[in-house]
Symmetry: C2
Subunit: 516 residues, 2 copies
């Protein structure tokens, strides 16, 4: 079976040597691959070289190679015969701050073999990135953080391989996408200078690293591609997202948004891309409001309020008893409360419209979403004015960032052909709710395209397409990163965006607050 | 101090990062080097990456890099500050079958710091290459052979470093030139298929290997360049010789000859090169005639015979008491005996002309070169008819190979502008003597240019000039290797060359046998 060179795995049949063609074994393989790959630079890993003469002869010069490509040089990292029917796999990793998702890919046919997710073991050190970066400066801290993530990956890889019925050393390649801090900790690089002016990462384009240098338990000759970043605040997860969304290939200008503590935005088309990142505030990540938490069983991910009856319809993940609310649930809740008149244009609770759910404690108002007898915790599930204020700042920051970047390139948000929303957030959010509170612009709903786990999707592409890896570097080269200048214009926009949905409601024609 | 990029060590001053220029540390270094080296591919070794952020800041972005270059990619293998005044050294190695010569080079100014030589420790396994290749096939044999040479190098490096007052880990680069079998054993590659038709080495162009992969005790990040070979019988020592002689740069066609058990010959100029190798027989290596041995104290390296008085004037290395004879001494002895009429045109001892030195034992004639009372062994030093026959075959083979290659390219030996003679042999041989016996053609003496240890010279160049390493690959690419076809023409030439100096004495007009 001849493989397309778009795969990292190719079959090559070499002419056997003769007195008239007595090139050495290694040079014969290199010549064959150069021709096949249309390249002038091929190297062979030393462990392969040691066994090459026997391997070529045992397989009658009909061989199968696993490759990787660093800049212009192709490296042969594994070699076997064409008749070897063992699986040859790759491991795609979405290296999230909170959650890590791993997917096993069959490098022969490009299909997913197994997938699983686990909490980033570095959560034990700190929930947020900053705590971990500071921990890396303590004695042994950096090594500890690296070990946590590597050990976690190795453990979950083991069960993943059991699922797929392969051995761990049948994994030859891995592709890892994460934010800049997470990839630095994964690589054992100290992110110390990332958080100190002028905010310099150790590396922007890590390229391929030997798995053995990292302790990653794949094949000893295996290689790990870590997605490049643009800087401390625009990570490889976003580059993976662009690759996956194909924004960089489209004629019409589109936008890609990843929402978390930071909002990362990239705007562009097949000619140019402009990126920026800014603090959107922690409200959108969950974990900040009193009942906020990360998505999981029993977490409220959707809220509907009947404006007439003021009745709440609550949906939880896996339909478990409600225990808290996640970011997308919070946006739904705020949007529905706003549309039902339970909060005003300033985001303030309206006691008179709250159907008896409004309470106060120590002078601070709050609203009971679910009374104790209906919650899974045995306590009232509530949302306070402080939570709403935090959400207001977050949604205003998000909208301001979007407005700023589009204005900078001389466009309006209405000009955008597509609005990709990355990540778990993108999958769960209801665009109508985000529009209702003025977090996202009031575009036709079909322009909003949730990407799902685009970080994992991009990592998967890197393992299934050699061309994708060239594209990754091209994307990184092509992006212009714009430092968000928090000037008077920005502050004016931010102030205007702190209203529900906006000081200028004509910009949100679809948002209609219920009027009795 | 700014270094020329012709060195493997260069100083680079990077612009410090700022909010307006927030490229990551690694990418900043790579960008600086790309500009400086006028290249598009630079990689950084992982151990350097780990320490890079601190190193750059501690040295105010004024850094010194040690590099190596694999194909088109430059690798940064060591980094320090420009104010670091520690020596940075390289190790040039002439990896001979019998003798290994090591030279320490200061990479900053290109000067030799120390030099020493030692017997190849693989001699304990076998004197000749073939025995070692067979030994490599025995269980643990290959590893044993590699360990012998690596351990030997490590030991002698230690004393070399003591001499030069540096630490072993101040050696960052090494360049190794040797024949194809020796470099394979050094690299731990099995030369098994080299001696079996169609005679295929494991590798022609090994390039740079990590010293740590070989166990070579230089800096853990150090790299070793092994000179490429053209095939099993034309090794990296010859490529080093070409580089050193500059034959590949000259307008006029010249020839380079390395004489040993095999005669290796390359003929060419700046446009083309043609090479061949053939068995010249063991007589020229010493170690075969009864009193033959390798050059060393007390070994006869020069013989003069007064044709009138028949008196022998014997010179020994270091003027010690004579204990044996080396290859160049043997050629002198045979030439002088021939010119004095003590051997005839067929290379046979002439008893009547031997001034009483002729003896016989078991029906075989021999000649006493030095009686027991004048020798350092307490025994007669003798040369037998069998020794002379062996020398005759060797010198005839040498001449035939030279005649064949020049004829193949449509030239005569008189057309050659220079006749480089490589190796120890080239340094000690008297061209007049080699001409007298018809081993080398009867050219004007000033065309003969001994190169000395051109293998070590080439290895030194590889450490002191980055351009030289590109030339090495260009030389290897440019050489056409000609398989010596032992056909009727060859045999006819060989038979004619078995005479002293030749069946056609008009081809050796300068050779005049004494006539009383």
């Amino acid at each position: 079976m001849q493989q397309a060179t778009d795969k990292w795995l190719i079959d090559v049949t070499l002419p056997p040597p003769s007195l008239g063609d007595n090139t050495a074994d290694a040079d014969r393989l290199i010549a064959g691959l150069k021709k096949r790959l249309d390249t002038s630079h091929v190297t062979i890993d030393r462990p392969i070289l040691l066994n090459l003469p026997e391997l070529l002869r045992q397989n009658n010069y009909r061989i199968r190679c696993v490759l990787c490509k660093d800049q212009t040089t192709w490296n042969v990292i594994f070699l076997t015969g064409q008749e070897d029917h063992h699986a040859i796999a790759g491991l795609a990793v979405d290296l999230g701050t909170s959650r890590v998702v791993v997917r096993l890919i069959n490098l022969i046919d490009g299909r997913a073999m197994a997938e699983s997710a686990f909490d980033n073991p570095q959560l034990t050190v700190g929930v947020d990135v900053l705590t971990r970066i500071h921990h890396a400066d303590t004695p042994g801290g950096l090594q500890h953080l690296q070990e946590l993530i590597i050990d976690g990956l190795n453990q979950h890889m083991e069960s993943l391989c059991r699922q797929a019925r392969i051995a761990q050393d049948q994994i030859y390649l891995s592709a890892v996408a994460g934010n800049t801090a997470m990839t630095h900790l994964f690589l054992g690089l100290n992110p110390h200078w990332m958080i100190r002016e002028p905010y310099i990462p150790a590396v922007n384009r890590p390229g391929w690293t030997r798995a053995s240098d990292l302790g990653l338990g794949i094949h000893p000759c295996g290689r790990v591609l870590v997605f490049p970043n643009i800087g401390s605040y625009f990570g490889g997860d976003l580059i993976a997202g662009i690759l996956y969304s194909e924004l960089h290939r489209q004629e019409d200008t589109a936008i890609l948004v990843d929402v978390g503590t930071n909002a990362e935005v990239v705007l562009g088309n097949h000619n140019w891309m402009m990126a920026c990142a800014g603090a959107a505030g922690p409200a959108l990540e969950g974990g900040v409001t009193k009942m906020g938490m990360m998505a999981g069983p029993g977490v409220i991910d959707r809220v509907d309020i009947d404006p007439k009856t003021r009745q709440f319809r609550i949906h939880t993940i896996d339909d478990q008893e409600p225990v808290g609310i996640c970011g997308s649930g919070l946006i739904d809740l705020a949007a529905q409360m706003f549309l039902a008149g339970m909060i005003d244009v300033r985001g303030r609770l309206v006691p008179g419209q709250s159907d008896g759910r409004y309470k106060e404690k120590d002078g601070m108002g709050y609203l009971v979403v679910l009374p104790a007898d209906q919650s899974g915790t045995g306590l009232d599930l509530t949302i306070g004015q402080a939570d709403l204020d935090s959400l207001t700042r977050s949604k205003a920051a998000m909208f301001t960032i979007l407005e700023t970047i589009t204005t900078t390139v001389g466009m309006t948000m209405e000009d955008l052909s597509a609005f990709y929303v990355a990540g778990t957030f993108g999958s769960f959010i209801r665009p109508t709710s985000a529009i209702s509170i003025g977090m996202l612009p009031d575009l036709a709903i079909d322009r909003y395209q949730p990407l799902g786990n685009s970080s994992l999707g991009g990592a998967t592409l890197a393992l299934t397409s050699t061309a994708a890896v060239d594209e990754i570097d091209a994307i990184q080269d092509r992006i212009t990163y714009m430092e968000l200048n928090v000037n008077q214009d920005f502050m004016n926009r931010f102030s205007a965006a702190k209203f529900f949905p906006h000081t200028d409601p004509t910009r949100f024609p679809s948002v209609k607050v219920w009027e009795p």
